[in-house]
């Protein structure tokens, strides 16, 4: 039988690679929107990683952190959008 925890560790490694690649786009991105998109996918990836950490350390309470983080990323994207359109 394959150990499920091993598979999760592999998945986390892949997500780490994804975050690294997103960082490249974040640094390179010619426009602000590019950077925000890269940041958005970074956030989603880290949401998943937070939830996996919650599972592995068996702490349900970390899920609240994930929910609040998701909420803040949503608000953050809208704030940047408002800023770019000039005017709150």
């Amino acid at each position: 039988m394959i150990n499920p925890e091993m598979i999760i560790h592999v998945a986390v490694a892949i997500m780490g690679l994804a975050m690294f690649l997103a960082m490249i786009r974040f640094v390179k991105g010619p426009s602000v929107v590019d950077r925000v998109v890269a940041f958005d996918s970074l956030t989603v990836t880290s949401l998943v990683i937070i939830s996996i950490i919650a599972v592995l350390s068996n702490r349900m309470i970390y899920f609240d952190v994930a929910i609040v983080y998701g909420l803040l990323s949503f608000i953050g994207v809208i704030v940047v959008a408002k800023y770019l359109k000039k005017g709150l």
């Binding site: 609040v68 909420l71 608000i75 809208i78 359109k85 000039k86 005017g87 709150l88």
Partner: protein, 232 residues
């Protein structure tokens, strides 16, 4: 060039300071006297599953009152300075918000408020509590302001919520002197069963007031920002 050198200088000084702080850091292997008392007796004395909450609201309840006051002061100062800047004339192009964002925000805002209320009512069981819940509520207000730029929040409602929750916080603290051991003593109500929703005496009530007060203060700041934008 000079600017770059200055920035590099400041950064290196900061790096040196951080290095010093880091190199002199040792992990504590045992609790100090005070924290030993909190860690061993806290759960049974206060009855809250979250030890941090019990310290913030009961043992150090007076400090929390001070922190909320500091936040109030900050909000007042920010609003004072924002009013001054209304002289600037700068053209702001306003485009109407996307219809989808308006609809989605109408759907999301009640749920965000619900989550904020959940966070500060469960402060004695889960991480979070008054300050965090208040911040979540303020996030909801921020979404509301951004989705409808023409909205004007009722100034009086925010002030009433803030004042009433602040006064209630103090009143519960004073009640603690008469009904239990001292100021902000949570044992005026029964401690209940450990880990239950209704446990830890007055902590959920105190934390709800803290949450409402923090939420109202932060909303006040956001509201002032929006007002100052409009005047331009």
């Amino acid at each position: 060039m000079l600017k770059n050198i200055l920035v590099a200088l400041v950064l290196s000084v900061m790096a040196y300071m951080f290095y010093n702080a880091y190199s002199s850091y040792e992990t504590r292997t045992e609790l100090t006297g005070m924290s030993h008392h909190f860690a061993s007796k806290g759960a049974e004395e206060v009855g809250a599953a979250n030890l941090v909450t019990s310290i913030i609201v009961t043992y150090r309840g007076f400090d929390t009152l001070g922190e909320v006051t500091i936040l109030f002061l900050t909000a007042s100062i920010i609003s004072f300075f924002l009013k001054l800047k209304s002289g600037d004339k700068e053209k702001i192009i306003r485009r109407d918000t996307s219809e989808l964002l308006v609809t989605a925000s109408q759907l999301l805002i009640p749920i965000i408020f619900m989550f904020g209320i959940y966070v500060f009512m469960n402060g004695h069981l889960t991480p979070g509590g008054g300050f965090q819940g208040g911040a979540i509520i303020a996030t909801g207000v921020a979404l509301m302001i951004m989705a409808n730029p023409n909205i004007s929040l009722n100034h009086n409602v925010i002030h009433w919520v803030e004042s009433i929750s602040g006064v209630s916080f103090v009143i519960i603290g004073v009640l603690g002197i008469f009904l239990a051991g001292g100021f902000l003593d949570n044992r005026m109500f029964s401690l209940g069963e450990f880990g239950d929703f209704f446990s830890a005496g007055a902590i959920p009530i105190i934390y709800s007031f803290v949450g409402l007060k923090v939420g109202a203060e932060l909303s006040n700041i956001l509201n002032k920002y929006q007002k100052s934008q409009k005047e331009i």
